[in-house]
Symmetry: C2
Subunit: 255 residues, 2 copies
């Protein structure tokens, strides 16, 4: 069984896509078999690995609406050692289409058809607690929460935690918080240090030791359609995401 992780936070711009793309590529570099699932109509994760979202034959939306299988829609990115289940604007239609009963388990069922092909599946979520994010939480064993160390992001985490608890109490009893990842971290910034201390006080070991610093190479890499370990492997951003992959692999599997 692959480890399936939802990379989620309804606060916008906290580094969900950057984390999904770069952690996927870093895990791929450690010879794990990885599927990156783009569940956001913005299609940022798709573009971030060099796939043109305007030229898709099938997308994740087709899979969620039952018009294609994951095997048909996924695209191999051998240069980055991962496959991607791409997204485009159509994904908005999937959000509406899934509202019916039982729609919450659609992604989980679809990913089960390719479970034997992967060691990790990472799901990049949109910035909302919509039906798409619920699908991702229902399909996952863990939630990775990227978190900018600023007030609005900290303020929103309780809503996310209570959504996770609701999903655990209903459709996915095994759902855990895999970890909280501090992103775009600037140690010279008092606010960031204060928020970071609050996170550790509240969440303890659930806060990853790895911290991703603010590093412009992470913002530049997507304009070349490359994960940062391909774009600039010696950058602090690349090193941080490789360290995160190492930290995740080094953890004892949660029984």
């Amino acid at each position: 069984m692959p480890k399936i992780l939802a990379v989620a936070n309804q606060k916008g711009g906290v580094g969900k896509t950057t984390t999904s793309v770069n952690l996927a590529a870093s895990l791929g570099a450690t010879k794990r078999r990885v599927l990156l699932v783009d569940l956001d109509a913005q299609g940022n994760a798709t573009m971030g690995v060099g796939v043109d979202k305007g030229e898709l034959e099938f997308s994740g939306c087709d899979v969620l609406l039952g018009d294609a299988t994951v095997a048909q829609a996924r695209i191999a990115c051998p240069e980055y050692k991962l496959d991607v289940l791409p997204a485009n604007d159509d994904m908005t239609a999937a959000d509406v289409g899934l509202k019916g009963s039982g729609g919450q388990l659609t992604l989980k069922k679809a990913l089960a058809t390719v479970a034997d092909d992967y060691d990790f599946i990472l799901i990049d979520c949109p910035p909302s607690l919509s039906m798409l994010t619920v699908n991702a939480l229902a399909a996952s064993s863990g939630v990775l929460i990227p978190m900018q160390c600023e007030y609005y992001a900290l303020e929103g985490i309780s809503a996310l935690v209570s959504t996770i608890q609701q999903i655990r109490g209903s459709i996915n009893p095994g759902l855990q918080i895999e970890g909280i990842l501090r992103t775009m971290y600037d140690p010279r910034n008092n606010l960031a240090r204060q928020v970071s201390e609050e996170l550790i006080a509240h969440f303890g070991d659930k806060v990853f030791r790895t911290i991703v610093p603010r590093n412009v190479r992470l913002a530049e890499a997507p304009s070349y359609g490359q994960p940062v370990i391909a774009y600039d492997p010696r950058s602090t951003g690349a090193i941080a995401y490789l360290a995160l992959a190492g930290e995740m692999l080094g953890r004892k599997p949660v029984k």
Copy 2:
């Protein structure tokens, strides 16, 4: 008739809330009568002006579902010279509830009941092109687009522009782009300069001359529940938003 502006961009974390709160307070400082509408379930704009979203008697969701009027739900913030129509988690229910036919004009009708009380109404939108954002675009005469000068934000602007065109072609023929505001701008960053040049090439005069720099005081102010002109009036962030208010007031009214 007040000038009603939707502050919108489906890309997350580009400074929609920071712009809504601080432009509203800056316009208030010029003795204009201002209503700040929080249309995001995160309730960030509500907290940003010091109103506890956990203690609301009525919220914007009640207004949209017809359970309260704007006059009942709005809260005066005299120290910041503005009123706020607050939001909390319930707003997610409004997004679902408005899906029915004719739901797109609900906010427009609600704001018309208080039109005589204000010179400006600013609507802080959530990071999605959902029914709530459609309501804001249907109710507004202009769209203010905060924009981080980075690849994913630039990449997403075409989807927003086409949504604006669709709304203009159907339910709101008068809808214009009020302007594109460059936020969190770091002039030392090549990527920011390149994206900024592309914006000016594409949008010309629609790009505000005022640029909001990255300034930590803007990120600190919300943790005190204050707009930045109250928290640190001499900061570069405060000066930028006062300049933006001036630039907007100085423009000839679009006939």
